[in-house]
């Protein structure tokens, strides 16, 4: 279990750093690469790592302006302010998971 957790944490860190320096597509690349290297891993791990990686990046933003921004963005899309963060994290998780899952499917053929 601890190896799995460490792996996910490592992947999350790679995804966060990759996003910071490379952009959003780093999630897909990291998830795909991870799945290539660790064939037996569940694609959900990549999804979870993406969520954690982006979550960590969001946590690095100062809380007060972040709160204001969440409120404004929520108002624009007519959602509760927390939902804007939830959408962002869900987007990351789905990108990570679907990318890893696709790689696993291709490799298994």
């Amino acid at each position: 279990v601890s190896a799995r957790v460490a792996g996910i944490a490592l992947l999350a860190a790679v995804m966060a750093v990759g996003t910071w320096f490379g952009g959003w597509w780093a999630l897909i690349a990291a998830a795909a690469l991870w799945q290539l290297i660790r064939r037996q891993a569940s694609p959900w791990h990549a999804g979870l790592a993406a969520l954690l990686g982006w979550g960590a990046l969001l946590l690095m933003i100062p809380a007060t302006p972040m709160g204001r921004l969440m409120e404004r963005l929520g108002g624009i899309v007519r959602l509760p302010s927390w939902a804007t963060v939830a959408v962002t994290l869900a987007y990351a998780a789905l990108l990570g998971w679907s990318s890893a899952r696709l790689v696993r499917a291709v490799r298994s053929r």
């Binding site: 996003t19 910071w20 952009g23 959003w24 597509w25 897909i28 694609p43 982006w54 990046l57 969001l58 933003i61 100062p62 007060t64 302006p65 972040m66 204001r68 921004l69 409120e71 404004r72 963005l73 929520g74 108002g75 624009i76 959408v87 962002t88 987007y91 990351a92 789905l94 990108l95 998971w97 679907s98 990318s99 899952r101 696709l102 696993r104 499917a105």
Partner: protein, 827 residues
């Protein structure tokens, strides 16, 4: 196995879908990848929300380093070695805080909004181009010598803005660019001129001719002239006329007459040039708009120093139309005030020696001409004095954000100005001083170096458009005002409110008002000066045509009354006057309503309404519970009284509602045919019958909409608010429903939509050390996640002013330091 395969297929489809949404725009949704990226997407806006304690930047063209200190109100104090460097730094800091606003404003003036925000904005772009604003700005820039002061200022400002833009990474972009999925365009020198042209559109685009024609088609020419008169029926001019009280020049209004066929045709063919927006027209007709300024001589102030106050009223927006800044160049320049983001200098403000502010002159500086052309569909020539002249053709193309051309057009210009076709196919050209503006920026740049009020007026004398009532006070105690701008002299009867024949050069302007003839005053005997968009000069002093259909001078009446009554004015009194809740129009109309009610004692609802109205103290305080009834009565009165101005055909444009001064004029004539309602053919109503009916209807509407009088629903603050919209009209980024004190015709007028109001309030005391107070709704930052986005709003809403910090040196600025920025010469 099957399930697993299905899962794989779903994952593939999901990834494909997500990738598609991630890389390309889908409807209003920008590409999701760059948008949601927590490092450089929309969330990065929160990282940039607050100013860092210290930072550095490089600006191409800087001759020396510039130190900038943001004070605790986030106002930048710029300390530079030269004027050009100060302007470069100004460009840099304004771009840092207001980049989107700058781009929207220059694009609005250039007619290029579609390139940023999509095809839906084509009508706005077309209007700007058809009015000739973009063409005028481009020709004006081309006419500037490269070494001219104006050109150097424009280039320096562009250097500063572009230094900021060039260094922008994805994670530095303002929120709106993330939402639009765009990057800011680089700044060109001409952009500042586009912006100034747009200000001319806001302040000096009149439709007097169309309005008068529309009225003449309904009630005849004589009545139209009386309803939209050349001279205000109440005289309280900007240039003091030596009288101790306002003067009513009331005359008997000619009765509504049947229009001639020619007048109807004329009206039906007019209206091609865009009118002001609905809200603006509404505000104008209800006397709910306007700017104020006034100055008091030292001998009428408590502390013996000249005082100056100003509050220009404009469409309110977030971020604000204004940006506060302080520019210091040792031994040369030390000016504090507000600038329009995109303009290379301070527009309204003060130095250690002088303070100045403006109100709009509301003069008629635009004329329309019917042209005779060689081809009714695509003319290339027009006839003047029996000879054909060539029309200047300028092809236009409109691009969407992808760069695709989606519309084309040809602009036409006569020697007068832009030529457009009305809806009946007739061609009209306009001549407009805004399109021929001169060297306003250079005039401002010179004026800020003046040491005395008279020197300031001399420096700004070359200013042409949009015309303003320019008020100035100095440290020596001089106060002065001049209605400054270019005012055309028309041939013949001199009227500018009639469409002229274009086939004769005799219809062209024959010159401009000489500066000696402009409305002006220096140190008047009365000891104060005030302007509030009223007719600037008493026609008994100078009867030359300057405009028509002037604002009812309600605010001028009020401020003059307050100043007459106060011989020891303080800065705080000046502040209080800016939100004074008194209404001189209510002082005149309420007694008339109550008198009318007494004539019909048997009407219970009328007596109840009159009883409630009599309880009103005629003040628009937030907690007031009777102003609402009066406002509704005035609203109800308009259609009852002006039923003759409602066209029977939708093809006929309705004229504007006449000003309240005309209503006051009519009150003196209780049996005027204007009081009669045409719909009630067997009854001839008189003044009291109509006033009583308005009051009854007002009570019914107010009860229906707001409940019983003392149930809390009648509180003024529940009815009238300021609604300050974000520039993209996104409610979540706006401040809506902000309670304000003031109402129709008060010094702090509020319009029905609440979208106009005091965009900047300032009070300056010209003592040995200048002291100043000011505020605008919003904050310095255009970033909605910043604590500086809305930090002034509450105080503004309450009519308070912030004390302005005016340090002389960097060291002094460091005593109230929020953030430091050092700019260095860049490559």
């Amino acid at each position: 196995m099957m399930l697993r395969r299905l899962g794989d297929v779903l994952a593939g489809a999901l990834l494909a879908g997500l990738l598609l949404l991630s890389v390309r725009r889908t409807g209003p949704l920008p590409a999701l990848g760059p948008l949601l990226d927590p490092a450089s997407g929309v969330w990065s806006v929160a990282r940039q929300a607050e100013l860092p304690p210290s930072s550095r930047g490089a600006v191409h063209g800087l001759l020396a380093g510039v130190s900038i200190r943001y004070d605790l109100r986030a106002v930048p104090h710029i300390f530079a070695a030269s004027e050009a460097d100060a302007i470069r730094a100004l460009g840099y800091v304004v771009a840092r805080d207001r980049l989107l606003q700058m781009e929207l404003q220059w694009r609005a003036g250039a007619g290029r909004l579609t390139e940023l925000a999509g095809r839906g904005l084509l009508p706005i772009d077309r209007e700007s181009r058809e009015l000739g604003l973009a063409d005028a700005a481009e020709r004006r820039l081309a006419a500037l010598a490269p070494a001219s002061r104006e050109r150097r200022l424009l280039d320096a400002f562009a250097d500063g803005v572009n230094a900021w833009i060039d260094d922008l990474g994805p994670r530095d972009l303002p929120l709106e660019y993330h939402l639009l999925g765009r990057r800011p365009a680089r700044w060109a020198a001409v952009n500042s001129l586009y912006l100034l042209g747009r200000m001319g559109w806001t302040l000096a685009l009149s439709d007097l001719e169309d309005n008068r024609e529309a009225a003449a088609a309904l009630v005849g020419a004589a009545a139209a002239d009386a309803l939209y008169p050349r001279n205000s029926p109440i005289q309280e001019p900007v240039q003091p006329n030596g009288q101790r009280a306002p003067r009513d020049d009331f005359a008997r209004l000619p009765p509504p007459a049947s229009p001639t066929l020619a007048a109807i045709r004329q009206a039906q063919s007019s209206g091609e040039v865009p009118r002001r927006s609905g809200t603006e027209e509404e505000g104008r007709s209800l006397d709910a708009l306007g700017s104020n300024n006034w100055a008091v001589a030292p001998w009428r102030t408590r502390d013996g120093y000249a005082l100056l106050a100003g509050d220009p009223h404009l469409e309110l927006s977030l971020p604000s139309i204004w940006y506060e800044a302080h520019l210091v160049v040792p031994d040369s320049l030390d000016v504090y005030g507000v600038t329009i983001p995109g303009a290379p200098g301070i527009t309204i403000g003060f130095t250690r020696d002088i303070a100045w502010t403006f109100t709009n002159a509301e003069a008629d500086v635009l004329d329309r001409y019917h042209e005779v052309v060689d081809d009714s569909m695509a003319p290339t020539r027009y006839r003047v004095d029996g000879r054909w002249r060539t029309i200047r053709l300028v092809p236009q193309s409109y691009q969407d954000p992808s760069g695709a051309v989606f519309a084309v057009d040809t602009l036409r210009f006569t020697h007068r100005g832009p030529l457009t076709r009305d809806r009946h196919g007739r061609w009209r050209s306009i001549r407009w001083t805004v399109l021929e503006a001169g060297h306003e920026l250079a005039a401002f740049a010179s004026a800020v170096r003046a040491r005395t009020a008279t020197a300031w007026l001399d420096s700004i004398a070359s200013y042409q458009a949009p015309a303003q009532n320019m008020l100035v006070a100095d440290r020596q105690g001089t106060i002065a005002i001049r209605t400054t701008g270019r005012f055309p002299i028309r041939p013949g009867a001199g009227r500018g409110d009639l469409v002229q024949r274009g086939d004769s050069s005799a219809a062209d302007w024959s010159g401009d008002w000489p500066i000696t003839e402009l409305p002006q005053a220096i140190n008047p005997v009365q000891g104060y000066l005030a302007s509030a968009n009223q007719q600037p000069i008493d026609p008994r002093v100078n009867s030359r045509y300057l405009g028509a259909n002037w604002y009812t001078p309600a605010r001028a009446l009020r401020i003059n009354a307050l100043l007459r009554a106060d011989s020891a004015v303080t800065p705080d009194a000046m502040r209080r006057y800016q939100t004074d809740p008194g209404s001189p129009l209510a002082d005149r109309l309420v007694p008339a309503l109550l008198t009318a009610a007494r004539r019909f004692p048997a009407r219970d609802s009328l007596q109840r309404a009159a009883g409630l109205l009599a309880q009103w103290d005629r003040r628009y305080t937030r907690e007031n519970e009777r102003a609402i009834l009066y406002e509704e009565a005035v609203r109800q009165l308009a259609p009852l009284l002006w039923d003759e101005l409602t066209p029977s055909s939708p093809a006929q444009p309705p004229p504007a509602t006449p000003g309240t001064a005309i209503v006051l004029e009519l009150l003196k004539d209780s049996t005027s045919l204007w009081w009669d309602m045409r719909a009630t053919r067997r009854v001839v109503e008189d003044r009291d019958a109509i006033l009583a009916e308005a009051l009854v209807r007002a009570l019914a509407v107010t009860l229906r909409q707001h409940g019983e009088p003392d149930s809390g629903g009648w509180r003024w603050e529940k009815l009238r608010h300021a609604n300050i919209y974000h520039l993209l009209r996104l409610p979540a980024l706006s401040a809506l429903g902000v309670p304000v004190q003031g109402g129709m015709s008060t010094l702090n007028p509020s319009s029905g939509s609440g979208s106009f109001g005091p965009s900047w309030r300032m009070v300056v005391e010209m003592g040995p050390e200048v002291r100043a107070w000011g505020i605008y709704p919003g904050g310095e930052s255009g970033n909605p996640a910043s604590s500086r986005y809305l930090d002034h709003l509450q105080a503004w809403s309450e009519g308070l002013l912030d004390t302005l910090f005016v340090p002389r040196t960097v060291d002094a600025a460091d005593t109230r330091l929020l953030s430091a920025l050092e700019l260095l010469p860049g490559p």
